[in-house]
Amino acid sequence: MSASARLAPMTTEAEWLDSIATAASCERQVVEDVLRQNGIKAQPGVPRARQVSFTSISFAGMKEKTSLDGPFSFEWSDLEPGLWAVMSDLNLRGKSSVMNILHAALRGDFPGDIKPDVWRWLSRVTVGIVVDTVQYRVGVEKLSGGEDPDGAKATLSRLNRDEWVPLYEGNLTGLKGNVETLFMEELGFSKLQAVNDSGTRYEHSWPAVAACLSIGGNAESKALFGEIIFDALPQRLLQLFIGMPWISTLTAISAAKKLMASSSLPRGATDPLAPLKARIKAADQELAEARKKSPAAAGRTDARTRMATLDADLVVKQETLSANRTKLQEMEERHERTRTEKLAQAKLVQELRDEKDAGYVFRNLRPERCPACEADFHDHHAHDEDGSCPLCKTTIVLEDEAADDRLTEAEDNLKDITTALQIVAAEWKAARRAMKEAEKARDAVVADLSLVQVEFRDKRDDVELQIAQLEGTIRELKALVGEEAQSPDDGSGPEKAIFDAAEKKTKAIVEDFQAEVLADVSKAVMRLATRFGVGNLTDAKLNGAGHLKLIQGGAETSFSKLTKGERLRVKIAAALAAVEVARDRGLGRHPGLLLLDSPGAEEVVDADFLEMLKSVSNVATEMGGVQVIIGTVHRPDLDDVVPRTHRRHAVGNEYLF
């Protein structure tokens, strides 16, 4: 990222609203109302990245109809950020099951990709996940031998001080929504809104994000990021991870526009949506009551709102601080250069002045002999009037008049540069002060933020999930009814003009930023993919639509046209590139978690696998707080890269569980 972009002034919410009002030729108040009614919020800042990692996985059950029937269990605890590996010397020894259980827990979606036989055997699964400092636990209990998900019981709980507080207890199907709400809100991600052709508004949420964190297995890699290729999702997920300011605003505007276009279609005279509207009204009332009932929940919601505000503020303060730091550095350098010049000038003045003074005292004397021929002027006549030796004619006393001019000039220069130095010193001091103030302002936000975090963690609120669920229900109902039902707009009122203006303004802000980010990511993808053995790549370009164009062996190609093995490698390269670029830019919001299942499959040769491992290890170790878990067949290269304490290894014919 170039320094100028980092320092580019951020567009504030007020500036954004004003520019939309001007472009749409209406009052700012109208703009504010229309945008609010349509759920469009200014998001000039990027929330701070939150850290997600697994802390433990344990499961148990009873194997049936295998060569090794009987009870089994698997325990792996004290997981932290860093590189971890689940491996076996042979295939089909349970690696993918461990990886799939982690993935299922992350999405709250059981059985998910867990193989039916393994799912049948399981009786208990517990997975620990930490978000920043807050610990969560996903648990599933069922009868071993039961395949029906309905017979299973799921829990989601949070550690409050030393006590696990249940956030959800119920059947498996309800777990998914609760895990989704939890992560989206804890991570501060906005849902990615989309509208289908019939005008129904829907959202891509946590499963889409979680899909980006898990790569490999037997699944065919269709999309560069995540698993879904439509709705420009790969691109939008990338934007989410890299931390593009304004991107969720833009998404909301596009959805609102699409919705408005579909609502202008003719509609029947009777309102078939009346029952749904009644349900919305009822749910709204329930929600209001739930909110009243729980001041703790309100407190937590309030804390979350404050946290979001502080997050955005932190980004602004951090930007100001880095701008000030750069400025201070410049001033320091300028001061040092000026000081060096001043001293050089002072040295010249000293030299000229000393020579002048010494010349003066010597010239007041009469030499006794010639310095050149040593002729004694006591014996000979004193030296000639022109100051030369009567014998050898050497000039004895040199009157250097030019020296006086040189001294005057040097003294004038010294005066000038001394003044210049004083000015630079004052500017330097001011820059130091500004930097300290910026630091203080940043630290204050950080302090506030950690206070709110503590408050947030310690608040007990069982009603909160009820509120979240009600909110979700209302959202879904409203999507079904279509929000246009509430505003009898024909699509030509101020709304259209406002949406158009808002889209144009917001797009302009996003596009500048995006071009740079895409260039960074493209470069990283190209570098990593080449190292992973994708041959003959000469260019990689990720475009604004989320398509990866490649030049391979001189011919133009794209992600979707690569072989299965190449796609897997490019996908891993893209995932690492996203983490790398996000961390580099300091604005990124990648949660710093990657699950790589069998990255060595698909005809990856040993050397390429080693390169892949090294890059993964770099990402895991060099960038603080990143956790990468790999499931793989054991290869000797692994021993150098993954610490012994970070491995689970089924040796020879052994099984992992």
């Binding site: 001293l343 050089a344 040295k347 010494a358 003066y360 030499p367 006794e368 310095p371 040593e374």
Partner: protein
């Protein structure tokens, strides 16, 4: 005065590569040399010339003291060495003063390192001093195995130095600087002083023909540490 008999001069004068004298500093250089000769000599009489009253022993010593006058940072370092031995606070404040006045940047007159250390041809300056009847450069003195060049001084030289400072008070810097340098050099022979110079790796690592670099940053840090430790 210490026994300087071992103070052999080896003729390391660069013969062919002698740089032309820096234009415009011949009076200053002659005067500085005279201050050093005047500050580092002792009384003597000689049959060669009954008017001679003082002698300055050894060109090597002259070069070594000149080096201390020309490199305020090395002088400050030597003062700190002595301070660490004697605890005499005036040495510490003298070193401090050198940095307060930015002398390492302003007063340094660079020297080139030749085969046997820092050296500058002084024939021109000596000829000037001889012409005014202040100094009589002596030819080779043989003292057993050792050879050295000595310099005789006439009383006129001391009168001239007095009146020079009276006429132009700014020139007292040279008088005072020689006094300070003599605090370091008084008890040492030219060889000992040279040996001390070589203890600085910046000095000993300077390639032959290279300008001897400053050690100001290092000495300033040392000074600050000593001041902080008090």
């Amino acid at each position: 005065m210490t026994d300087l008999a071992d103070d052999a001069d080896v003729d390391d004068t660069p013969k062919s590569s002698s740089a032309p004298p820096v234009p415009g500093t011949r009076h200053r250089d002659a005067l500085r040399l005279l201050f050093i000769l005047g500050g580092g000599c002792h009384e003597t009489t000689t049959a060669i010339d009954p008017e001679v009253t003082h002698v300055f022993q050894s060109e090597k010593r002259l070069m070594a003291i000149d080096f201390l006058v020309r490199y305020p940072d090395y002088l400050a370092d030597a003062l700190l060495d002595q301070f660490e031995v004697s605890g005499d606070v005036s040495l510490l404040s003298a070193a401090d003063r050198i940095f307060v006045d930015d002398e390492p940047s302003i007063r340094t007159v660079s020297m080139v390192r030749w085969h046997f250390g820092a050296y500058q041809k002084i024939e021109t300056a000596l000829a000037t001093l001889h012409a005014y009847g202040f100094v009589r450069p002596m030819k080779l003195v043989k003292d057993g195995e050792n050879r050295r060049y000595d310099y005789y001084l006439y009383p006129k030289a001391f009168d001239f130095l007095h009146s020079a400072v009276d006429q132009v008070p700014a020139l007292s810097w040279y008088r005072d600087r020689v006094v300070l340098a003599m605090r370091v050099a008084a008890a040492k022979s030219g060889s000992e002083l040279k040996g001390w110079q070589y203890e600085h790796e910046e000095y000993s690592n300077t390639p032959r023909g290279g300008v001897i670099p400053s050690i100001a940053v290092k000495v300033k840090t040392r000074l600050d540490n000593l001041k902080a430790a008090r």
